[in-house]
Amino acid sequence: MSDEVPKTQDLIKSIIANKTPAASWMDTPTVIRPGMYCYSAKAKPLNILGMPHGREWTPDADDWSLPENWMEILSEGLRDRLDRFRSLKVFMDICVRCGACADKCHYFIGTGDPKNMPVLRAELLRSVYRKEYTVAGKILGKLVGARPMTAEVLKEWWYYLFQCSECRRCSVFCPYGIDTAEITILGRELLNLLGLNIDWIATPVSNCYRTGNHLGIQPHAFKDMIDFFVDDIEEITGVRVNPSFNRKGAEILFITPSGDVFADPGTYTAMGYLILFHYLESMGLDITWSTYASEGGNFGLFTSHEMMKRLNAKMYAEAKRLGVKWILGGECGHMWRVIQQYMGTMNGPADFLETPVSPLTGTKFQNAASTKMVHITEFTADLIKHNKLKMDTSRNDNLKVTFHDSCNPARAMGLFEEPRFVIKNTCKNFYEMPESTIKEQTFCCGSGSGLNAGENLELRMRGGLPRANAVKYVHEKHGVNMLATICAIDRAALPPLMDYWVPGVSVTGVHELVGNALILPGEKQRETDLRGEPLPGMEDE
């Protein structure tokens, strides 16, 4: 080695040719990179929904085929929403850019891209708002953080508003209570005025509107799938469960995300529900599934307030049609944000239903007095508390479990203890991840709010790094091999995340653990769990 060795700084310059310059974010151009974005919405699903400007366009093309008067549409759309949503007006004005939220976003932490700081993501909109609505912005422009709307700014909005999973972790840390997720929601609503949705959201919304679930599954196929589970349960337990569908006069309607019915490992959670309901039937549970309200999820939340309301309404329309008293909801994430935070005033209060009462324990769920909808972990935790379930927890002895708080049940409804109570009563090995990564501070899976596509895997892996990093910690420290969660998107998104960052950790729903442990009257000696894998001690059978 000699003096000719290049200096470190020269090497940095040559190696890192396109290192982001230390320029203001406004002067840093946005590069739309493959792996980071989802495919654009096609014309057909938008047309079916009656949404405007459906067309074929691609995010990496220069020309997005925008309608001629797109600036006018956007400006009018923003004006309209500033009038209608006081939160938006307040959030546009009160941020003092203190930076408390800056390093709280999992996408920023995982990508290092400053425009993924919640404050900057919101600034993308605020800068345009300032230019149009504030005197200082109109006169001083860039000096006060204002800029005019351009096609480049629009593309930047699209790119970064679909890099926010609306998880609301940042809002926990904002001293003013600014909820950046609401800014994202309204920003996406504005983009939808120009037909600028993503396919992973628009198609499920359209499917849900047509057939009742995200996948476009028709009622007979929905029933067929449940029948498959019935066969599997019989094979594993020797007991044939007998669920009912669309049964008028049932006391309770059960609604869960379609992911539980159609995507592993959610399917094992669905088997857990079926086993639980069968167990309780002889004790007085009167419950029905619906092949029409066959989706708990609501991708309308990721599209517009109107679309969220439209999709939410079908669940209650079905409850009314069947004449049930209340609704039991499955392990879903954002369904519970819609129910807990919007339903009461959006389509409710659901006065035609009754405040839910558990027919097994007599517990009245006053927390659901407006929506009449109870989370299944609340329901099951109550059963366990009242000693209503006979379980053989040794069937889960091979599992070392940790719990991922799904963003919406955690931050939108404060559901922390019930799922943990159920897990601890079905498994003996439970280990918490570090406090700063769970409960209200939980890290997102990185794929929420409709971003769980295949084409944006790099974004998902980066965004999921903080969550995976905490799982890796308990995996290495305690040998954790199972990540439990109560969200269908988590159950779909976390397996590849674990596969990439923490191989050796599988993903389960909480009611899969219940289904394994519950002792059904008349069951044979089980040799396998619901996945068909040998139970502890049965490996050589």
């Binding site: 080695m1 290092g112 891209d113 990439y500």
Partner: protein
């Protein structure tokens, strides 16, 4: 231990600190300040993995350990950079930075070592580390692509199966000698 390896150990802390700083400088300025300052391993996994990974990798290098032992520490760093906004050369360039950093840190004391064969060994070890890095980077990218393909294959297979359009081999009955009937 020859003088060069001794110098590496003597200057270990400054070399590792500058290597870490230079690697974190490959992130956008606004982010690198956070990545450098936050010590919480759960709040700042990128900073933590880089700090820990580079320190461990350097220690093995300075101990003249087997390059392969560096794998898990390099993996921690490269697994992130393989999915971040870096081209392959940018993702792995931090390894080559080590050559210049070492030289700058020890050159005052290294004048007498100009002809030492240990330089060639050090050079080869860092090159070896870079080659190992290429393997890791490629493994990570292959993993991403494989996951993507699996996702599509599973969707197609499940759709066919649920539509009762296929009968899986494992669902077919066997005769006594195990062949299909």
């Amino acid at each position: 231990m020859s003088a060069l390896w001794g110098l590496l150990k003597k200057n270990r802390d400054s070399i590792v600190a500058i290597w870490r700083e230079a690697t974190l400088d490959t992130y956008p300025t606004d982010a690198s300040n956070f990545l450098k300052k936050s010590k919480d391993p759960f709040h700042n996994p990128v900073g933590k993995r880089i700090s820990q990974g580079l320190a461990e990798a350097f220690d093995i290098l300075a101990d003249q350990g087997e390059t392969a032992r560096i794998t898990p520490f390099l993996d921690d760093v490269i697994r992130m950079r393989a999915v971040q906004d870096f081209s392959p050369s940018q993702a792995l360039g931090f390894i080559y930075l080590l050559k210049g950093i070492i030289w700058e840190q020890i050159k005052k004391d290294a004048a007498k070592l100009a002809d030492s064969p240990d330089w060639r060994e050090l050079d080869a070890k860092i090159d070896g580390m870079a080659l190992l890095g290429m393997d890791i980077y490629n493994t990570c990218k292959e993993k991403i692509y494989t996951m993507r393909v699996h996702e599509v294959k599973n969707q197609c297979y499940n759709a066919l199966k649920k539509s009762n359009l296929i009968v899986a081999i494992e669902d077919m009955p066997d005769d006594q000698d195990g062949s299909l009937q």
